[in-house]
Every structure is written in structure tokens, then in C-alpha cells.
Subunit: 222 residues, 2 copies
DNA sequence: TAATCATTCAAGTAATTGCTTGAATGATAG
DNA sequence: CTATCATTCAAGCAATTACTTGAATGATTA
């Protein structure tokens, strides 16, 4: 054999890591974790050109992280398997635990000396069942419609600024968004806390909640 | 700010993935999962030149995956935190689940149509407690000495070929090695099965066993 | 203090990667 | 069949990466 099996294996494993090694592809994966989508949609959401997004998506497919199927004239990409979500999560955990730069950025977002601890999904589920929290889904409408936590209220950051005066200042508020790579919930919590609210972020985002096997509902906000 | 916090974060996460995206660095991490070591040792074990290994190790350090300290004239590198082991494991799981190439290589190693299922570490622990298995540690002597599963017998592939005739052919044999990137246990199991033994691989390797919180002992083989 | 050893640095190269642009392909609708 | 739309392909460029070589640094030992 021309190369040893060990080296061939390592090359394959490196290919998977390689696929995760570009910000553009991480954005695409984050988006795909919300729901499957066509190339053009993914390109628009991530701010990439269509040709560029297509090439990145093909690279993700070569690495086995996503699959695609044709639907009419569109090609729909989706995550190959849900372990990708765990992989993305672990990657961000490592970065947050080990890279000072990352904690700096996250603390900067919170607008406080140290960001408040996020609430675990298990805790949130309990408090939701008890009717004790107001839950905000800080994502675009279409992602909310594709799946959200039951009882969540869809609100973009712009909406939040508008609606802040109408919120009950005594309510306990929890916000979530796309997942560990998304900063919407961080930003929402920062605004809320600056306005005196008791607000926290949920750990992870909708994909992680779904992965836990917890209920998800679809459809527009009322 | 010149770049948005979101982009800055993604760049950091990509940096971690980037660190995993080269076969040479995966080898170094695999080695470091066995035990901390000096640059020269790591270079020798992985077949890299010292200068090259040093550069790869620095890249791993920049990504927060390893740390280093000076000990006399040597610099000792070690894994920054044990989550790296989970990350490496997840990477190989993804590759094995999604890349046909990988399953081909692994099946090729087994010498059978499909590789036999590995035994879980929990199952192994039970059978060990019952004294029902012969456990082989297929790694170099120094790695065995740095830590091994209690009751394991250290044996390189060369040793195995030599000692095959002396093994009890009715014994149930389990082999393990460095972890998911290491093929020694695969190869050992293939030889054993070709010789009529009832042999299986342990899932993962010593680092995973240690991560489970199971006992490990150090010292030379007797 | 000088010699030695392990590691790191610096410069050069060959190869790879990410992105852009414009053309080609594949599927549908008129 | 032709026009249209979404996606992919191909070529080209700038930037980055992996590896090599040889010199520089830092810590020990004679």
C-alpha cells in the first residue's frame, strides 16, 4: 500500500476537522442546525455569495457533515447527523474554557464585569412547567417558525428595544437563540439587565434543546 | 469596532478546529493523551522532525488545546484539559459514521468482511472483575508504564506474534491501545481471530478509560 | 566560563485554501 | 422547445500553511 492505514485514517479525521476550520462553514452549520435549507437561503443568511456558499457546502458534504437532496430546482442541504451539534458545542466549550480572547468577547457582550451564568436547559424546563418564567426566542421569524421551545415568544433584538417598556419588570426572563455560536441571546440579556430585568441566557440554543429530546413546536408566533 | 464580535468569536472557534485539521497534530494529541512528554520524545514517537513538532505543538498551544512548562532543558507539553479527549473521540465517531473511506480502512484492518463489534468499557470492567477475560495492552512499553488498565498484559504486535502459541486458545481476549486513532488493537485482534481466538477490541483506549474515572495503574510489566 | 543539549526562531519553498468572476448544468414553467 | 431560476463548475488571484534548513536562545553541566 502506498500509505499506511494509520496515515490514511488520520487524513480522514483531519478532513472532518478541516471542515470545521473556517468561520464561513461554522456559520453554515449553525444555520443548518436550525433547519435544513436551500443554498440561496443559506447564502443570504450568512452573507456569503451563492457560489461561495455552494463551495463551502460541498466541502462540508465531502467531510460527511451534511447531505443534500434536490427539491425542484433547489438543492436542500441538511445536517447528516445530530452528533454535529454536539461537535459544534464541544468546540465552543473548548474555546471558551481555554482561550482568553473568547471570554473577553463574551464578557464584553454582557456589558457587565462578568457575564451572568446561563440557566441549564433542565432547569429551564422545570421553571417553564411551573409557569415561572417568560421565555424569549431571539431569532428571525422564519427560524422560529421552523421550530421553537413551547411557550417561547419570538422577538428580534429590534423588537426587544421597542417592546421593553411593555414587559413586566418583575418577570423572570430567559432568552435563547441559535446555539453556542449565536450572540443574540447574549445581547438580549444585556439589554434586559441594563433595564433592571432579572434576565438570563439559556445554555445552548434551540438545536441543543431539541437534541435533549425535549418538545419543540413549529409555526408562526401569534 | 473593526470586526463584529460574532465574527471574532467564529474566528476563535475556527482556530480550535484548525488545530485539529492536520494529521501531524492529531498524532501529537493522541500521544499527549497517553501522557505528557517533551518535544523530542513526541517528535520521535510521531516521526516528525523536532523543529516541525515544535511548531505544531505551538499551534496547539495557541488554540488552547495544550500547555507547556519547562523542566530543566526540556519543555514538557501536556493536554490543557481532558475535554480534548472527548473532542478527538467525537471527531473519529463522526468520521466513522459518515465517511465510507474510514469504514473501508477499518474493515480492511480486521481481515474479515465486517469488523467485530468492540466491547464497551463498562462491559469490560464487569468481565474483568469476574476474572473472565485476558486483557492485552498493545502499546509501547513506556506508554504502558505511564498508565494502564489494572490486570492488563503489555504486548506489542511483535510480541504478540511471538507469544501467540503460548496463549490459552480458549481464553476470551480483549485488546486496547491508545484510543480511536490507534490501530494497534485492531491489528492485534485481527491476528488473534485469524488464529482462532475469541478476541475483541475495547471501545476507545486508555485515555477514554481514564476519563471514565476507572482505575489506572502505573509501572513496568512484570 | 565554556560546552552541551533541547527547543525555538527565521527564512524559503511548494502546495493548499478562500474568494471572486463568469460560464455551464439541471430542473421547471410557459 | 425555450426561457428562467438555482446551483455548480472552472479559472485566477491573494493569502495561508506545512515542511525544511540552519541559526539563535535558554538552561544545565563540566
Amino acid at each position: 500500500m502506498s500509505t499506511s492505514p494509520k496515515q490514511a485514517l488520520l487524513k480522514e479525521y483531519a478532513l472532518v476537522a478541516q471542515a470545521l476550520a473556517a468561520p464561513a462553514r461554522l456559520m453554515l452549520l449553525e444555520q443548518l442546525a436550525q433547519s435544513e435549507a436551500a443554498v440561496e437561503v443559506l447564502a443570504r443568511k450568512t452573507g456569503l455569495t451563492v457560489a461561495n456558499a455552494s463551495q463551502h457546502l460541498q466541502q462540508l458534504r465531502r467531510a460527511g457533515l451534511v447531505t443534500s437532496r434536490r427539491a425542484g430546482k433547489a438543492v436542500i442541504y441538511r445536517l447528516q447527523n445530530s452528533r454535529s451539534i454536539a461537535l459544534l458545542g464541544l468546540l465552543s466549550e473548548m474555546a471558551e474554557a481555554n482561550l482568553a480572547q473568547v471570554t473577553d468577547i463574551l464578557d464584553g457582550l454582557s456589558g457587565e464585569a462578568t457575564a451572568p451564568e446561563p440557566i441549564t436547559r433542565a432547569d429551564l424546563a422545570e421553571r417553564l412547567a411551573a409557569g415561572a418564567v417568560t421565555l424569549l426566542d431571539i431569532r428571525p421569524e422564519d427560524e422560529f417558525a421552523a421550530g421553537h421551545i413551547p411557550g417561547a415568544c419570538n422577538m428580534t433584538l429590534a423588537d426587544l428595544d421597542r417592546l421593553l417598556p411593555t414587559l413586566d419588570p418583575k418577570a423572570e426572563v430567559v432568552a435563547y437563540c441559535r446555539g453556542p455560536y449565536c450572540i443574540y441571546a447574549h445581547q438580549a440579556v444585556a439589554r434586559l439587565r441594563q433595564n433592571g430585568f432579572n434576565a438570563r441566557r439559556m445554555q445552548g440554543g434551540l438545536p441543543e434543546w431539541r437534541e435533549d429530546g425535549r418538545g419543540v413546536c413549529t409555526g408562526q408566533s401569534t
